[in-house]
């Protein structure tokens, strides 16, 4: 059972049959409610259009009763099986869920089957008791780790967020003074793995802070680094971190482009020397534009 895996917040870890572990974020009510409302609107829209078309078309043929009957049957199917059919055929997504970028999965991370998809939507009636405005479902959802409402609990499903943001390019340092400082740093200095990570995190976020806040944050690393690197006391800490970042991630990376495309594997092996993630992001962009037919032994992960 997956359920006893450690879970700290809304991130859940899934281990696939291939023994790959990755994480999902479970979707809370603030994503699921809009998705539900969109689906409700879609349903109402389809029903309204179908009513117009069917009753009009059959009415012209003098078969208004038949048209009405067909419409009522359709309304029945829409009311009870809209979600189930979409989630079966569109891999756990209804139009509303697709717009809100969420997806229904089994709790073990596999796709839902037709039975689960249908049942969880039929059991929506219990969660959304008339007169209670979904409060029952909401209450049940808050009482478990995966925001499962009663219908989800009964068929072992959960709703996860499926984001598709592209990881942006490497953040570049464009301050010329920092670049100049980078050139002055001792050549033998190799940041440790955790230092490299801290640098990347800091530079990635420094845009969001005011200069004085940057100085305050950079101090913690800056003081010992200035000491180790033997820099003059008036060095700006923020600029020092940027320079180190530039040295670690940018300068080392700009090798002559003639060398064969670096697969992530090779890149990481090399990174033991000091450049842990140099290649991964450029690879992504590279492959996005790459000719698909070109045979490669090691495929990098960026795909478009």
């Amino acid at each position: 059972m997956q359920s006893d895996a450690k879970q700290l917040d809304t991130q859940i870890e899934i281990v696939t049959p291939e023994n790959i572990a990755f994480q999902y974020r479970v979707a809370g009510p603030f994503r699921r409610l809009p998705a539900y409302l969109i689906d409700l609107a879609v349903r109402a829209g389809v029903a309204a259009v179908a009513f117009g078309v069917l009753v009009f078309a059959f009415g012209m043929a003098g078969l208004a009763s038949l048209g009405f009957g067909v419409w009522l049957t359709l309304a029945f199917l829409l009311t009870w099986f809209y979600g189930g059919v979409f989630e079966t055929f569109y891999n756990g997504q209804t139009p509303g869920k697709r717009l809100m970028r969420i997806r229904v999965l089994s709790v073990d991370g596999r796709a839902v089957n037709a039975l689960q998809a249908t049942l969880r939507n039929v059991l929506r009636t219990v969660d959304g008791q008339p007169g209670l405005f979904y409060l029952l479902g909401l209450a049940v959802a808050t009482m478990n780790d995966r925001f499962q409402r009663l219908g989800d609990l009964a068929c072992g499903t959960m709703v996860v967020v499926e984001e598709r943001q592209w990881y942006g390019d490497v953040v570049r340092v464009d301050d010329p003074r920092a670049i100049r400082l980078a050139a002055e740093l001792p050549a033998g200095f190799q940041p440790s793995r955790s230092l490299a990570r801290a640098l990347a995190t800091y530079v990635g976020r420094r845009e969001n802070f005011s200069p004085s806040r940057r100085a305050q944050l950079a101090r913690h690393l800056g003081v010992p680094l200035r000491h180790i690197l033997d820099l003059p006391p008036e060095t700006d800490f923020d600029r020092l971190l940027c320079a180190l970042y530039h040295r670690t991630f940018i300068t080392d990376q700009e090798e002559p482009p003639g060398s064969e495309p670096i697969s992530p594997m090779v890149a990481f092996d090399k990174s033991a020397g000091g450049n842990p993630f140099a290649s991964s992001t450029t690879e992504t962009t590279e492959v996005v534009n790459e000719d698909l037919s070109e045979p490669r032994t090691e495929q990098p992960f960026g795909v478009r």
């Binding site: 696939t16 089957n113 009636t125 990570r197 795909v303």
Partner: protein, 303 residues
């Protein structure tokens, strides 16, 4: 986007092979990124990418006609033959139905309390004329209405069963008392003939379907109480696997009943035909529940 291509139609072998290798590389990247403690953004991006690829690889399984037919015609009756929830639902429904019917027959004030004045007047007016040929030409519309309304009631009753069976029990008792009240009351009115002629043909399917959906819902709810040694959620999940096909059988019955109710019951066909259909449909139900459901040696359904 190579990873995203709609896999509904067949993909070319090259695409699939490429997808597989891309997926493997993405997984390898994720593992490495994790091990090297790369920045959060990178790791998060890779988690997303692998998650999406995983969802493309393991797609939801479609409706498989032969599996569902086997479920409906073999597994469901076999299971229901031993199903205590069905027995309970059957006894409660018919017990309350008959009780309520007799009480309303004997005491008009009970019927009034049960059914309500408004509905009684409505029913009396509805059946004030002979039903034969009443709604000629309206058959299709009525079929639609019955299809919309009746399985909806059944499905709601089923879903309410999830509340530890109590919700389903209450809904069943309510349905049975209401129906019994109507039947009992109508018997005292001059319109009784019209009413009973109308309900004869579709009665067996419709009332059985009501009982069946209540039973399927109770199976869900009771699985939370009686777990057979499983964790409650696991027990509920197992019951859900069994309850849904049962509910499908109930929906099929509802739709059959709706057809009969819309096209035959109000038609000008002689009463003998309607009674014949009624007997025939009762016969198919007996066949379904007893003959198909009779325990067989090799595939003995579990409790």
């Amino acid at each position: 986007m190579a990873l995203e291509g709609r896999v509904r139609g067949r993909q070319s072998p090259e695409t699939i092979a490429r997808f597989a290798s891309l997926y493997r590389s993405a997984c390898a990247d994720l593992a490495l990124a994790d091990a090297y403690q790369l920045p959060r953004g990178t790791v998060h991006y890779l988690h997303q990418l692998v998650g999406r690829a995983h969802n493309q690889l393991y797609r939801s399984r479609m409706f498989n006609v032969s599996t569902w037919a086997r479920q409906l015609l073999v597994d469901v009756p076999q299971r229901l033959f031993h199903d205590n929830a069905l027995r309970l639902a059957f006894c409660i429904f018919w017990g309350v139905f008959i009780l309520s019917g007799m009480l309303s027959y004997a005491r008009p004030e009970f019927a009034q309390g049960m059914v309500g004045k408004e509905m009684m007047a409505q029913m009396e007016e509805m059946y004030s004329e002979p039903v034969e040929g009443r709604t000629s030409g309206m058959g299709a519309a009525m079929f639609g209405f019955y299809t919309f309304n009746n399985p909806g009631i059944g499905l709601r009753c089923f879903a309410m069963g999830l509340l530890f069976g109590v919700g389903g029990l209450l809904t069943t008792i309510h349905n049975a008392a209401l129906l019994g009240g109507v039947f009992g009351h109508m018997a005292t009115t001059p319109q009784s003939d019209n009413f009973y002629r109308f309900v004869t043909a579709h009665g067996p399917y419709e009332l059985t379907a009501v009982v069946l959906s209540a039973a399927a819902g109770m199976r869900l709810g009771f699985s939370l109480l009686e777990t057979h040694g499983l964790a409650r959620m696991a027990s509920l999940r197992r019951a859900a696997d069994e309850a849904m096909p049962t509910m499908c059988a109930a929906i099929v019955m509802f739709v059959l009943a709706a057809m009969i109710e819309a096209f035959l019951s109000p038609s000008a066909a002689p009463y003998a035909v309607k009674a014949g259909v009624s007997v025939f449909s009762a016969g198919t139900l007996v066949f379904y529940f007893v003959i198909l459901g009779y325990p067989r040696e090799k595939s003995r359904a579990t409790g």
